[in-house]
Symmetry: C2
Subunit: 147 residues, 2 copies
Amino acid sequence: MGSLGDTETALSDDISFLLARASALSVAAANAALAPHGLRARSYSVLTMVTEDLRPSQKDLAEFLRLDPSQVVAIVDELEKRGLVERAPDPADRRTKIIVATAAGKHLWAVAADAVRSAEHETHAAISPGERTRIAEILRGLAFPTE
Amino acid sequence: MGSLGDTETALSDDISFLLARASALSVAAANAALAPHGLRARSYSVLTMVTEDLRPSQKDLAEFLRLDPSQVVAIVDELEKRGLVERAPDPADRRTKIIVATAAGKHLWAVAADAVRSAEHETHAAISPGERTRIAEILRGLAFPTE
C-alpha cells in the first residue's frame, strides 16, 4: 500500500470514516496536551461542562458527550476523588444529583483549556482563522443535527 | 440543563469535541445500517480496503483506520472465519501477509456499501450535494493533515 494520504479508496469520500479518523487524530492530540494535567479529552469535556455552571446531571453529561452512562460515572468518580468536582442535590429536583466544579476544578480547567487551545493551533496550523470558524460551523451541524 | 443543541458551552467551539460527537452519531447510524449484514463501521472499513485490491497488511489497515493492531487482528480473524477475506503472502515480501477479499467478501461489501450510502443520505438529508462535497473535502483535510 502507498502512503496514507494518497491512497485511493472509497473511504476517502465516506463521511463516517473521515469523521472517525479526524476525531481519532484530534483526540490523540488533546490527550497528549492534557496528560500533564492528569486529564484526557473525555474528563476535560466533563470538567468544561461543570465549570460553566450548566449544572448537568450525569445523564445530561452522557447525552451531551455521547458517552455510556457507566463511562460518565467513572469519570465523575475520578474527578471527585481529586477534589475537582462535587455531586450536589439538584435544587429543582432533590432526588437528582447534579455535578458542580470546585474552586480547584475551575482552576485546573482554565489551565487545561489553555493547553488544549495551544495544541489545537499547532495541529491545525495550516487552517486560517476564517476557515476554522467555517469548519466549526459545519461540525456543529453534524454534531447537533436538527431533529 | 436545557436542550442539547441550544446549550451554550465552550465545547460548542471545540473542534476535538465536535469531531468526537459528530463521529459518535455517524458511527452509530452506520452500525445500525450494517447490522443486518453482520458488519459494523470498523469491519466495513476493513472490508472496503481489501475489496478495493489495495492489498493492505494488517499494519497498513491499523495505520489507515487509526485502530489498535489488536483490534485489526480481531476484525480480520472474524471476517476470515466468515469466508469474506483471506490472509495471503505479499508477492513483494513473502514474510509479510496481506489481506484480500474473497468473492463472497466483495459481494457482501457491495450490498453493505449500498446500505451505508442510504443511511448517510437519511442522516444528512438536510445537507445539499454541493455542501456534502465541501464537507468531505474539509474532513479529508482534518483526517489526513499534510505532514
